[in-house]
């Protein structure tokens, strides 16, 4: 690990201001992703701002009938919250599908949203990677790409977003709340929060320098049958090859988001009109324009089959 200085922030706005003053700074909360990357010198912050004391660890009802999840709510606590289990089952299931018990006890809601990719070339510092070192190239294209994106990628990057939680959040239309270094706040719909890689794969979200996530808000419960189905190389503690988050209503309408296929949680609202025609039609609409590699072309059929299983399960 490279040397760094360390401070504890006194308030969200002060944390954001401190980060803006110090371009080499990173916020640290759970640390389960950041410290892993710091040990490998993929992340090399010169200053850490510890936000754990910021009292952003509560889950509160909103006036609209939804839930406001503090940025520091741990994955375990969010998955176990009685309201989440009852009204947002897809979110609870997605959280429990990710990582291990030890990691979920530490990992936070905001940190999970900001997880970095597990692309093997991002992790291998002897290889070019435009995300790790902008302009150096992409070793994944033409390389071992079984885990990587099939849609939304670019000539610069075909990494996937690794989060399960964020896929469920996308299906639920969550909103990310932030505070900026000047103290102003804003709300960002999750659909607009993560970016596609384009020419700048190192810029992964629309967050401005120093901007701090303070909460993630869920709209009122969507009801329906809520399912998170994850397909992976072993039964537990592995990243998704493909995952499906679905909220299926009795009238057959549904919201569907995919994990493991793109640089962000993948949802195509227009494709949801195809639900009555079945998984094949929905998949064709969701993955229209897909550019899989030789290694990961299997994901197209895997999405179709996983989605088919989810829709069948929802019917009971």
């Amino acid at each position: 690990m490279r040397p760094f200085t360390y401070e504890r922030a006194a308030s969200p706005a002060e944390a954001a201001a401190a980060a803006a003053r110090n371009p080499g700074a990173r916020f640290i909360a759970g640390g389960t992703n950041l410290l892993d990357l710091m040990k490998l010198q993929i992340e090399t912050p010169s200053h850490l701002i510890d936000v754990n004391g910021l009292a952003l660890d509560r889950i509160e009802p909103t006036p609209e009938g939804g839930l406001r999840i503090g940025a520091l709510v741990r994955n375990t606590d969010l998955a176990a919250d009685a309201r989440v289990r009852r009204d947002y089952g897809v979110l609870s299931r997605a959280l429990l599908a990710g990582a291990s018990g030890q990691l979920r006890n530490k990992a936070t809601t905001a940190g999970n949203m900001l997880q970095r990719t597990r692309c093997p070339y991002f992790y291998d510092t002897s290889q070019p990677c435009n995300k790790r070192q902008p302009g150096s190239g992409c070793a994944a294209i033409g390389g071992f790409s079984r885990q990587l994106a099939v849609i939304g990628g670019s000539e610069a990057c075909i990494a996937t977003h690794p989060s399960d939680m964020a896929v469920a959040m996308r299906a639920l239309d969550a909103v990310v709340e932030t505070v900026r270094p000047d103290g102003t706040t804003r709300s960002i719909p999750i659909a607009e929060f993560h970016r596609l890689p384009g020419e700048t794969p190192h810029v992964e979200t629309v967050l401005e320098p120093g901007e701090l996530i303070t909460a993630v808000t869920l709209p009122p419960p969507a009801g329906g049958v809520q399912i998170y189905r994850k397909v992976r190389d072993r039964a537990s503690y592995a990243f998704a090859l493909v995952s499906v988050a679905a909220v299926v209503q009795r009238d057959g309408t549904a919201r569907v988001a995919l994990g493991g296929v793109a640089h962000k949680p993948w949802r195509v609202e227009a494709a949801e009109a195809e639900i009555p025609r079945g998984a094949k039609a929905v998949t064709a609409a969701m993955l229209d324009g897909a550019k899989p590699t030789h290694d990961n072309a299997f994901k197209l059929r895997l999405v179709e089959r996983t989605l088919g299983a989810v829709l069948a399960e929802a019917k009971g």
């Binding site: 504890r8 640390g31 040990k39």
Partner: protein, 199 residues
């Protein structure tokens, strides 16, 4: 133990255990002092901020029960309990734990007075080389507490019902602890015995 380094800022740090008290602690990259309560005993440690909780336990407090396997949160050998919850002690900085209570395998039991989970691992031969065992046992103790607290898992069928101490639940919840000797079936038997439910 790096005595004398950073004592000026160290005084400030030890008063910062509360959740909101906070200011810049140090502009230096070495010499933070942090107070940790480990297995019931308080320690003031002068640490480079890069020191993980695991390294603080092993290298500074010489509590070498917690093991360094992968050092990346993948194997679970470093599992310890912080304020009663199991975490990977390799993936957290010691300075982030001022005022926290840490329990390691040394705090669970002693050779003369084994914790019931330790005794069950011995009885059921829940190990071969033993390297992952302290992490397995810390994790297993926490798993039973998590089930007791009603925390669901990936294999819990009904999210709104209390999770049960089934073999499937134990296996899923222990998936963050790798045993390269492959003692899994005996580990499950040991935990099952402590859980009070036949496998």
């Amino acid at each position: 133990m790096e005595a004398g380094i950073g004592t000026a800022v160290g005084t400030a740090v030890t008063t910062l255990a509360g959740p909101v008290a906070a200011q810049a602690i140090s502009r230096e990259s070495t010499g933070l002092t942090v107070r940790l309560k480990v297995n019931g005993t308080e320690h003031d440690l002068a640490l480079d901020p890069r020191t993980t909780l695991l390294d603080a336990l092993r290298e500074h407090l010489h509590l070498t029960g917690s093991k360094k396997g992968c050092d990346h949160g993948q194997c679970g050998a470093c599992t310890a309990l912080v304020n009663g919850r199991r975490i990977n002690s390799c993936l957290t900085l010691a300075v982030m734990h001022a005022g926290d209570e840490v329990t390691t395998i040394e705090g669970l039991g002693t050779p003369e007075k084994l914790h019931p989970m330790q005794a069950a691992f011995v009885k059921h031969d829940g190990y071969q080389c033993g390297y992952c065992t302290p992490g397995q046992i810390c994790s297993a103790v926490a798993v039973l507490q998590e089930i007791e607290a009603g925390i669901p898992s990936y294999v819990t069928e009904d999210l709104t019902a209390a999770p049960q101490r089934t073999e499937a639940e134990l296996r899923e919840r222990m998936s963050g602890n790798i045993c390269r000797c492959g003692a899994y079936s005996n580990i499950v038997e040991a935990i099952t015995e402590v859980a009070g439910r036949p496998a």
